[in-house]
Symmetry: C2
Subunit: 547 residues, 2 copies
Amino acid sequence: MANRLKIVFLGGVEEIGKNMTLLEYGESAIILDAGLGFPNSENMPGVDFLIPDISYVKEIKKRIKGIFITHGHEDHIGALPFVLKDINVPVYGSSIALAFLDAKINRAGGNKKYKLVQIDNGSIIQAGDFSVEFIRTTHSIAGAFSLAITSPSGVIFFTGDFKIDHTPVDGKVADLSRIAAIGSKGVLLLMQDSTNVERLGYSMSESRVGKSLESVFNDNKNKRIIVATFASNIHRIKQIVDCALKQGRRIVLSGRSVLNTVAIAQKLGEIKLDPEMLIDINNTKKIPDDRICIIATGTQGEPSSALTRMSLDGFKNVSIGENDTVILSASPIPGNERSIHNVMNNLSKKGASLVYESLSEVHASGHACVEELKLMIALVKPTYFIPVHGEFRHLKKHAELAESMGIPRPNMFLPELGSCIEVSRGGIRRLPSIDAGAVMLVGDIESDEGSIIERKKMAEDGIVISAITLSKTGKPKVEIDLTSKGLNILSAIEDEIQSTLQSRFSGGEYRNMVTEELSQLTRKIISKIFYSKQKRCPVIIPIIMFE
Amino acid sequence: MANRLKIVFLGGVEEIGKNMTLLEYGESAIILDAGLGFPNSENMPGVDFLIPDISYVKEIKKRIKGIFITHGHEDHIGALPFVLKDINVPVYGSSIALAFLDAKINRAGGNKKYKLVQIDNGSIIQAGDFSVEFIRTTHSIAGAFSLAITSPSGVIFFTGDFKIDHTPVDGKVADLSRIAAIGSKGVLLLMQDSTNVERLGYSMSESRVGKSLESVFNDNKNKRIIVATFASNIHRIKQIVDCALKQGRRIVLSGRSVLNTVAIAQKLGEIKLDPEMLIDINNTKKIPDDRICIIATGTQGEPSSALTRMSLDGFKNVSIGENDTVILSASPIPGNERSIHNVMNNLSKKGASLVYESLSEVHASGHACVEELKLMIALVKPTYFIPVHGEFRHLKKHAELAESMGIPRPNMFLPELGSCIEVSRGGIRRLPSIDAGAVMLVGDIESDEGSIIERKKMAEDGIVISAITLSKTGKPKVEIDLTSKGLNILSAIEDEIQSTLQSRFSGGEYRNMVTEELSQLTRKIISKIFYSKQKRCPVIIPIIMFE
């Protein structure tokens, strides 16, 4: 609790500093974002989501002055319903971020009162020793902000997720002049989004996506058009709606999160839509194909999403056919490629024409590419640099980029989950790391690493269960039961296991062994037979019961 | 067995016509390629590989005149050791394809005699009613060929996997003149590689990769260089070796498949390498970093590969540090992104600099992009067109491309696994499909769909096992045992399940039920309690034993 600026890197996923970052100075502490991560089903089967481990935050709970939200994406606000239960402090964010948050809290059945404070470009919030200025930026969700945080040690510039879009859909450009002014006054530390450091050049403007969508709509005048997009991208949805209305198409919103976004966007005046033009998905049969545009969830091939269900056996009254053009206005999140490709293959098999990013400009990333990253470094001119929002390889590439712009390597730090540092004009000092990382949630229940490993092993190798009931003499009381799941056991192997167990136990010589020893013995007998016959090691579950 | 040309689309993976295609005419039949597929661990946990279901081929076994191999990649030759056991016919392929096949058969312990016949550019093989001409093409493995198959119904041009590389490493360009001549004489049907139909323009030449590698080597003169690449790409390995030797580096080959390829390439004269310059991976410590180049397997983040093991706790005598530059001279196969990214993150954490495709031209695809596909269609000028070698969405895009070049839609056919057609000058006629698809192999053992579903369910939801031993009166003889795996069961739930089962059974009123009924009952009791407390449905395995 020394009077030095301390930064703690928390977070749920591999992408460091994305989900949650903590700043401390003396008696004050503030939290930047509180998001969740989505696990991949291969490595964490059955896990629903990952939230940051906030044990450390709870320890210093009393010093926390507020939570500052850069924008309303799940990976930045998704953990708030959990965090606010333990740490009820004011949450500062844009109208859009707060609207998304509010909807989340309501869905989670939150009846507790939280203090949500709306900010705008230029808002300055005093939070103990920190003063936080919100500076408008551009991203794949409206209402995104960078933070210029003044502490007694100096100014920290935290970009949040951003790109530099000079022609955003709502005309609200990033406030580059203000960023330049802050940079000119001197910035101690820049923490910058590393997501697209592997992409050269500039990101594409969102308004260019609008132009591409318009030309796809024009090329498909006589067909039904279905567009799948990231549900939170209000500007994308607005552009799709505009294209559809220009052709006199009615709009169908399919999927909870799309409905939610459009309701929020209408309330905030971001999308204007005559209720007459909105129709329910169950009523599409009555309207000719060329008068319908369906906006659906499912860009990542999620099994229960609208698009995935349409690609299979039809969904509500929508069945896909030759007269459908499906636009995937999104890009795959790494790890989801196979699921997305399955959906695309199934849509193709039903006859739909597909339009997607690799062949048409129907999607733009929300993250700054190399030239934008350089521009931001040039404007902010920081003394120290910490790449955040990326996996470790991104941070490393980002450090190389910053080095090429004259920031010396000793003035940089590459954080990992749980990293703690102190920053002052004198330098960056590494402190002992804390336990951070992710809490894996299965529904509302925390899952431990051990269960996940067991589940993965069962998936890889199947299981064999032997149930043995022993009499007081240590002999099997009833016939030994052998059950398996997820295995194609040859009956010869099954017979051999059963008869071996039966003969080994029937002498009663193990009667003095305790359960654990008997289990070990059983496991050894079964695995030996299995390995010699099938060269595999299933999970073996020996159950020993005593009379 | 009518005198018509029949085509059957077999194969192990979603990519149609890649692994295996069958052509029949009257009493003659020939097989084009016999490859295997690799499953993704998410959808098929524990499955090692997928081979084509050849039940149908076995039925017409006597008519099969030969197997024609386009090139030596696993997905084109990998199933041969299995197929040849049932169908021992001559196999025709390039020296390189046959060398890879030979090594495979030897590893599989094949002591049976197979007839492997080496072909070269222009070789023509008579096989019953078919005459098969091999035409040199270019691909990411040396010794790749297209097939021009003359049947009584007309000529079928089967591209195999190809690109049009005008500057291949060995100077052996695709024989475009011969293709043009065949096209001018009239081709009934073109079957063309669809893999890269989503990529506009031309593919990059393999020799351009060589130039990029050279510049990376020059930029890293003082560092140890580790290059991971697809092991079968002889020309890539040759270019890496050339770069290394130019800097006086010794070569370390790491990983069985890289060793295998270099042995084959040396035998065939494709790579020349002074044995002095080759050193064993265990001896790298003795040599300065700037005098070493390690060529390793592991471009796909495979857990047991050399690169993955280096990225973790060191491997043999190689431990990764700041003085290592790792070049990933490969691209991710869709579905492997997460594993590859993990390896990259771990290498970065150890301090290595990474060089990879998205930022440097250190990899080139082996498949034709849109402009090359158009060129081939323009040269072959087929009456009918069947896109192959791709997932269904690729086939569909490829059909759109062919249509834009004037091939009418009714002259095309989009095959699925098991599709059968007849082709003649009169048109393409669809025949009833056959059972095709993949045989899932776990080691040498076939796995059925049911086991896979069980394994996935256990991975998602965990398991609960209840073991009940009933006495003759239908009452529990010993205490009911409850065991779980992969679950975090609250002990309160466990207690409730146990006491509920105990009390329900202790009356003995179920004594007349058969095992199946008792199992159902137990399952119902457990799942009800579980769902009401945790909103989850684990896999429940009731074991009922009788005195």
